[in-house]
Structures are given as C-alpha cells and as structure tokens.
C-alpha cells in the first residue's frame, strides 16, 4: 500500500524535523534570526528622563532660588552643561548646572524669578519646594569649556550659573582667566562671594553692579576689561541677557572664539536672516528672521517631512553639508549635532547653510 507508506514517511519526517527544531531552539532560544551588527534600539541616549528629589532650597541672592536635586544614578556632567526640568504644569525649562561636577548623585541649579517671563521661573519659585519630586532630562552641554591659553568670561546676573563650575575648574588647574561679572546690584548677584574669593589671588574678577558703577559697556566697548589686550588664543565666554551678549560679540576681537549661552525660548523663530542652499535640488532659499528653515524649505519642497514643529519629535532631521548650525532643539545627541539639524527650530549662526535636500 504505497499511500500508507507515503503518509508514514511524511509523518516520521515531520516528527524528526520537529525534534531537531525543538533541540535547536532550546539550545539557543533566538535561533534562527540574524541580528543587526550594530544594534540601534535601546542605546539612543536621547531624552532619558530621571527622577530627582529636591533636598535643599536656598536663596543665594535677592530674587534667586537655588535647588539641590538628588537622584539615583545621575549621569556625569562637565562645566557649562544644563538639564531640562519638567515642571509640575508640564512646562519644560533648561537650567545650567552650577554645582560640583565631581559630586555624583546631586545636581544644583539656580534660577531668577522673571515676573513677565514665560512662566517657568515663576513656577520654580512658587511651586517647587524641599522634598518635592521633579523629573529631569539630560544633562547636555552646548557651552563646553574648550582648551585655550587664556579665558575671558562675561556673566550677566543669573548668567553666572554655567560659568561658575568653569571658574572652579580653571582655578584648580591654575589657568589664566578673567571674569567681568555684571548685575543690577550686589544683592541680586548670586555666588558673588565665591566668585570674588576665587579671583582674589590674581585680581581676576571685576564686579560691575549697575547701581554702583552703571552699565558695563559704553559706545566704545567694555572700559572695565580690555578685550583686545587678551592673547590671540583666548577663549571668550558670555552668558547673560541678549543685550549684553550682543555688546560682547561686538567687542570681542574678530580673530577670537566667542562662546555664547542663551536663555532663549527654544522654538521662537528669532535671529537674523540667512540663506539655505538645497544641495540636491540646486536651489537657494532665504530664511527670514520671522520664519523657520522648515517653512522656507516647504515652500520649495512639498514632500519634506516634519511633524511637531517644536524640536522634539525628530522627524524633520536633515543632513547639513556645510554651515554653522545654531541648534535649538533638545533632542539630538552631540554626535548627531555635528552634521545634522532639526529644521523646524534650529537656525544658522552665520549667513549660509547647505542642506542635503
């Protein structure tokens, strides 16, 4: 009976195959799919959220609140870094870390209350107290301390926060640095005592409270600190109000490198006009001060992808072939920032960007 023989043969083969498969699978449960050589999932490092508890709330100056945040497993950071703080209302704000990078397990931030601001600082002052839990993200450093022969810092008021850890590090290393620290009055300038103590030895610190000595800059520049006397390889750092940063940018010798840290809102389409060359399409467009790269590109290329238009979803990320990018998102990692940008919020520091579009 050939039919019975065929059925028995097929059944026996199936049983054997099943046994062989079972044995293979129990030997290595993930057989037989191959894996990607360099896995992508689980290692983006983007936007990792951390829980922290406020363990100390102090006031280092009039109108300024300083918070100490403690958490398990807080990542290491370097001077100039900031974190995102997710406020109870859901607002997300960036604050520079002003504590000691060597201390693991705690971050320190300080913020000035701004009555007519966007509400973040008011919420920190009114709603965050000791023992409260907050969610934070980061840290990320867009204002890193570079290696230079000499350093000149200009801080305006609360703008001292990212600079303070830099001064501590440079002072410990015996580097050549100077600081111009301006503010409304001595009482409103945080960390003044520590800063003056750090600079006492080499007469490195010049303090210019507006109520005693007027504005730090005049039409000729900064009389208190001669920028042009600095050696060629000096690194300039400035953090403070927009007006102060503009004045510093004008006073800095053209050959020097200037590092600026803004407290700017992350999605505001502000800043000067610039040109964007769309390399593959062979077109050049102008991005005006009140618009975004995305809007300008969309007028030319209908099928460019985007979604949130606020710099968090990442779908508008584009490769940048040339140009100095002004990153205004909070999503991309530092290595992604080298050659790509989120065109919905980020802009250009110079006059021209070249996109691979």
């Amino acid at each position: 009976m050939p039919r019975i023989r065929t059925v028995a043969l097929i059944a026996a083969t199936a049983l054997l195959a099943r046994r062989a498969l079972r044995g293979r699978i129990s030997g290595s449960p993930l057989w037989p799919m191959p894996a990607l050589d360099e896995p992508v999932s689980g290692r983006s490092g983007r936007r990792r959220s951390l829980a922290a508890t406020i363990t100390e709330r102090t006031s280092p100056a009039d109108g300024v609140v300083q918070l100490r945040l403690e958490g398990d497993d807080l990542p290491a950071w370097t001077p100039g870094a900031h974190i995102d703080v997710v406020l109870p209302s859901g607002l997300i704000r960036q604050y520079s870390l002003c504590g000691d990078p060597a201390e693991r397990g705690a971050y320190t931030i300080a913020t000035r209350r701004i009555e007519d601001g966007r509400g973040g600082s008011r919420e920190v002052h009114d709603a965050l107290n000791e023992a409260d839990e907050v969610e934070i993200r980061g840290p990320r450093n867009r204002f890193p301390l570079v290696v230079a022969d000499a350093y000149v810092f200009v801080a305006g008021g609360i703008g001292i926060t990212p600079i303070l850890p830099m001064l501590r590090q440079l002072d410990a290393a015996g580097a050549d640095w100077r600081l111009l620290y301006c503010g409304r009055s001595r009482a409103t300038m945080p960390f003044l005592d520590e800063v003056e103590k750090l600079g006492a030895a080499g007469d490195r610190v010049t303090v210019v409270p507006e109520d005693e000595r007027g504005f730090p800059e005049d039409e000729r520049g900064f009389p208190e600190l001669d920028f042009t006397a600095a050696p060629d390889s000096t690194a300039f750092y400035c953090c403070g109000p927009e007006g102060l940063m503009t004045a510093v940018a004008e006073a800095v010798p053209p050959t020097a490198t200037l590092h600026l840290e803004r407290f700017a809102p992350r999605a505001a389409p502000s800043g000067g006009a610039f040109e964007v060359e769309l390399h593959r399409s062979g077109r050049t467009i102008t991005v005006g001060p009140g618009t975004t790269v995305l809007a300008a590109v969309r007028a030319e290329l209908r099928d460019v992808s985007y979604s949130c238009e606020q710099g968090f979803c990442g779908t508008c990320q584009q490769r940048v072939l040339a140009g100095d990018i002004d990153h205004r998102d909070e999503l991309l990692t530092d290595s992604e920032r080298d050659d790509s940008m989120l065109i919905c919020v980020s802009r250009c520091n110079g006059e021209r960007l070249v996109l691979d579009l």
Binding site: R43, S44, A51, S307, Q310
Partner: protein
C-alpha cells in the same frame, strides 16, 4: 483604485499632533504587574518591537509622501509620523532600564533591528516598478499592523484589571498614552493604503504577512523574557497562560483577538468603525505624561 467600499465613520476623525511626553523609569520594578511575570513580559514585548518597528514606519512614510495628492491626508500622515517617532523614543527609553534590572533585551532587539532595517528595509531595487511595488507592500503591511495597534490601544484604555492588580502607574501611563494615540490615528495608515493602492488582494496578502510576523515575534519575545528573567527559575511562556490572562482581563482575550481578524478582512472595513476617538482624547487630556504638552 480601491476595489472595496469602506464604511467610514467621519466623526471619528481628529487632527493629529505629536505630544512631547517623557517618562522616568527609575522607580518601576521588573515585574511591574505585581506577582505576574507572564503578563508583565507579554506586554514588555512591546518595548522590544516598537522602537525599531515605529522607526521603520517613519522611514517608510517619508518615502511615500510624494505619492500623496490629498492635502488632509498629508496632514494626517505628518501628524502620524511625529506620534510614531515619539512612541519609538518612549519605548526605547525603557530598554536601558530593563538592562539595569538584570534583563538585557539587546540579543532580541538586535534581531528586531535586523528584521525592520534589513529584511523590511529599502533593499537594492531598481527605481521604477520594483521599488514602488516594495513601497506599496510595506505601506499595506503598516496598515495591517496598525489594525492591531489600534486593537491593543483600545484594549489597554479599557483594561481595568491592570489597575485593580496594582500595575505600575508610569508603565500604565506609557501604555495608555501610546494606546490612546494609536486609537486617535488608527485610520491614517489604512486611509494612506487606500489612497496609494487599496487593492483587496494586497490587503489580504500583507495581513497574512503581518499577522504571521506579529505572532512569531510576540511569542518569541515573551519566551525570551520569561527564560532570561533573573528572578524566575525556569520561567516558561505558554498558550494556557495567555488564555487564562485573557479570561481575567489582564491581556486581550483570545476570542477578541480571533474576532478582530475577519473584521480587517471585510471589504467594508474601515478603522473608524473600531474603538472610540472620544475616549482616547479624554485619556490624553488627563495622562500625566501628555499633560501640559501640546
């Protein structure tokens, strides 16, 4: 182009925008459904599949944009890809936490990465018909997968048993925020499929592919977690356990899963007939993670 007559419930449409959410996992335990590793790990498979899978959705959809000639659909697709990008990121963030808890998901996720980036990737195809065929095939696969994500989203929004069991609130919020957005945008993938192709044969064929792949990857993922869970000795996943959790509402019931199959294959199917946009939007308005985002 379509040879079916979908029965659209127009009132279920809502404008789509991604929400800037974030979750902090520091305090979520390994067995976030207390005392029930099987349910925990069956749901945990989402964290294995979604980071790579939803990245792939975005990748495919970016290529299909030039084929869209309807402005409202284009807006829906833009909202969709942003939401999917956020889902991918949010689930991706869970993976380092699982690793820290002693359950390293990398051997599995590296395979899922291969599955979506290589097997279902762009492939070296000549421009023209072959490339377009592969693009349309993937668009149809996504539509079939989205039928199941909407099914799961609707299930998790109503899974009161998880609350009663004391499941971790952060994990529940992730699942429900994600589930609610899946319900909210459940029609986009299907509408896009109808718009660019809509062939019934392709719908059935890609449904079979997607369904087989989902069942294969899911049971494999659950077994992987159960066997590698450092707190379990000889942990096993079984179909009996799945049926049992389905009966008590900790997982979707087997019957509901089976009944969802003919619905997708019905020529009159349209995702707007399933689940409730109003419930999804209501959850999103109260979700701790989505609250305050835009």
């Amino acid at each position: 182009m379509s040879n079916t007559q979908p029965d659209v419930v127009a009132s279920e449409h809502t404008p789509l925008k991604p929400r800037d959410v974030s979750f902090s996992w520091d305090r979520t335990p390994l067995h976030w459904v207390p005392g029930d590793p099987f349910t925990t790990h069956t749901i945990n498979v989402l964290h294995l599949l979604l980071p790579a899978g939803e990245r792939w959705f975005v990748h495919v959809y970016k290529q299909v944009l030039p084929l869209i000639t309807d402005e409202r659909l284009r807006e829906d697709v833009m909202g969709f890809i942003g939401q999917e990008a956020m889902h991918s990121q949010a689930h991706d963030d869970v993976l380092p936490h699982l690793k820290a808890l002693g359950l390293d998901p990398t051997p599995y996720t590296a395979q899922v990465d291969w599955f979506f980036e290589k097997l279902l990737g762009d492939r070296t195809l000549p421009p023209g018909r072959a490339r377009k065929w592969w693009l349309l095939e993937r668009v149809a696969i996504i539509a079939a997968i989205e039928h199941y994500t909407a099914f799961l989203g609707d299930w998790v929004l109503n899974a009161d048993a998880l609350d009663r069991r004391g499941a971790d609130p952060t994990m529940l919020d992730l699942l429900r925020w994600h589930g609610a957005e899946e319900v909210e945008h459940r029609s986009v993938a299907f509408d896009l499929f109808l718009h660019v192709d809509g062939s019934y044969r392709r719908r059935v064929r890609t449904w079979a592919t997607a369904f087989t792949a989902l069942v294969f990857l899911w049971q494999r993922g659950t077994r992987f977690f159960m066997e590698n869970d450092p707190t379990l000795d000889g942990g096993k996943a079984s179909f009996t356990a799945l049926r049992h959790r389905g009966r008590i509402g900790m997982l979707p019931s087997t019957g509901a899963m089976v009944r969802s199959i003919p619905r997708y294959l019905s020529p009159a199917y349209h995702p707007s007939q399933e689940a409730s946009t109003a419930q999804a939007v209501a959850y999103l308005a109260s979700s701790p993670a989505a609250k305050g985002s835009h």
